[in-house]
Structures are given as structure tokens and as C-alpha cells.
């Protein structure tokens, strides 16, 4: 993963950047499987490696395939991102160990989730759709808003007539 990230940063050819980011997504999906987050891994593989690669290729079709030289030196953004990363690592050191049953997150609502009142064997689904129903409704609305925004921005304007894009 680190190699593919470095290659993405260094490479100027956008086509290889897109392919590398697809590979990165697949690697990330395997990491998520290793962390027992199969639901997220599936999403990552399908969205990150599949659809967004195709979308980026489609976008690449519209523009030049060589990244322009940056207009200024990247030292300030580099410093900011390194500082943020260091801060996050420092914060992560204070977290309980991975899988620690005494961690605070496992003490509050998780026992109730795990008791599984809705009797759906997949806890992720139960939490997402039932216990956190409002959140998921909000997420769906966010996805809907994204789609509506893309439609509003990119809908092809016919000269003279306000024709829907249904026959475009």
C-alpha cells in the first residue's frame, strides 16, 4: 500500500495514477477483511476499485492525461499533512488496544446491540438499519443529494430548448 501511495504521488501520468489507486483500493479492502469488517471491505472493493476507477477514467477521457507541473512548492501542504498525521498517531496511542473488551466503546450501547432485540444475525445490518435508522436515512439522503447535484451541474443543455436528458 505504501508503495502504491508513493507511486501515485510521484507519477505524472494520470492513467497510471488511476490504475494505482484502484490497486490501492483492493489492498485496502483486504486490510478491511483482515480487520473483520467485511461489509466495508465489499463496499471498498466495489466502489473504490470498481466504479470510481471507471468514473476517473471517464473523467480522464475529458482532459489531458498528464498532470501539470505544480505552480508552487508543496512544502506548506506537506508540513500540514505530516503534522496532522503525527497528531492522529499521537491520539491513536491513547486509544485502548484493538479488540480490548474493556474499551469504553464496548461498555455503553454495544451490549444492547449485541443482545440483538431485532434478531437479525448480522449485527452490522441491525445497527445500520434499525438502531441507527435515522443516520442511515441521512446517509441515503446524502447520496441522493450527491446525485441531484451531479445532475444539476452536468445535465446537458440543449440549444434553445429545455429538453430532458432522457434521450441524450
Amino acid at each position: 500500500m505504501a508503495i502504491s501511495v508513493l507511486a501515485i504521488v510521484v507519477t505524472r501520468n494520470l492513467f497510471s495514477v488511476i490504475v494505482l489507486s484502484g490497486a490501492y483500493s483492493f489492498l485496502m479492502a483486504t486490510v478491511l477483511v483482515a480487520l473483520d469488517a467485511v461489509d466495508v471491505a465489499m463496499t471498498e472493493a466495489a466502489v473504490g476499485a470498481g466504479i470510481s476507477t471507471v468514473l476517473l477514467l471517464g473523467a480522464l477521457h475529458l482532459c489531458k492525461s498528464l498532470e501539470a507541473k505544480p505552480a508552487h512548492k508543496p512544502w506548506l501542504p506537506l508540513a500540514v499533512s505530516v503534522a496532522t498525521g503525527a497528531l492522529l498517531v499521537y491520539g491513536a496511542l491513547g486509544l485502548p488496544d484493538f479488540g480490548d473488551p474493556d474499551a469504553p466503546i464496548h461498555k455503553n450501547v454495544v451490549p444492547r446491540y449485541m443482545k440483538n432485540e431485532v434478531e437479525v444475525p448480522n449485527v452490522v445490518t441491525a445497527v445500520l438499519a434499525s438502531f441507527r435508522g435515522y443516520d442511515t436515512l441521512g446517509e441515503t439522503t446524502v447520496v441522493f443529494t450527491a446525485g441531484a447535484g451531479v445532475i444539476a451541474l452536468l445535465r446537458r443543455r440543449k440549444q434553445g430548448s429545455e429538453k430532458a436528458s432522457g434521450d441524450a
Binding site: 452490522v124 446525485g147 451531479v150
Partner: protein, 141 residues
Amino acid sequence: MRNDLVLRVIGRLMIPSILLFALYVQFHGDFGPGGGFQAGVIVAAGIVFYALIYGVTATRRLVPDSVVETMVAAGVLIYAGVGLAGLLLGGHYLDYSVLGHDPVHGQHRGIFWVEVGVATTVCGVMLKIFYMFTSRGNSED
């Protein structure tokens, strides 16, 4: 790429399996990993795969824009409708327990329809964005 025999044959083999797998992910989401979001994305990926082989024009004939745009909105409406159904049946908004003859049954039914809504919107949005991006190139050439 529609004249490439290898791609066509593999596409024929893969696309039904992808769609079937999406349905499995959708309806088996209660028991194994998966659910509406994943299923919607997988359906969209299958259709995008079809578009890569047979071209966007053929895909737009197969899955027209009007259907996709309807899906975008319909999913949210299904989700919100489940909430309203709970409200009308005397529960709280998005409280599924009142949807069936007993709470567990109602929860299952509510989760099922909510997942259907999520899958519909996600699939519609993915396809719409894909259509939008790919059709831009053709218009400007």
C-alpha cells in the same frame, strides 16, 4: 470493445453472476455481510461493466436515464415511506416494530424495505454519475 470475443463471452458469463450476487448480498444482508449499500453498488458495477463492453449508448437503451433518475429519488422515498408507515401504524418515525404482527417480524420487514430503498438510491446515483461523465465526452467531440 463490443467486437472483442473474449470480452463479450466473459461479460456474458460475469454480468448475470454479478447481478445475482448483488441480489444475494441484498437479501442475505440480514445473515451475512452485505446490505443495501453494497448491493446497490454491485448492481451499478455490473451495469457499468456492461457499458464498458457494449458501449454507453447500448446501456442507455437497456437502462434508460428516466429509470435511473426515478431510482435516485424512489430509494429515498421508500426509506422515508417506511418511516411514515411506522408513524401511521401508531409507532414512532422509523420504528419498525409496529410493521408486523410482532416486533421482531416488524423489525425484519422494516429493515428489508429500508435496505431496498438504500440499494435503489445508491445504484441510481452511481449509474447517473457514470452516465453524466461518459456522455460529456461524446457531446463535445
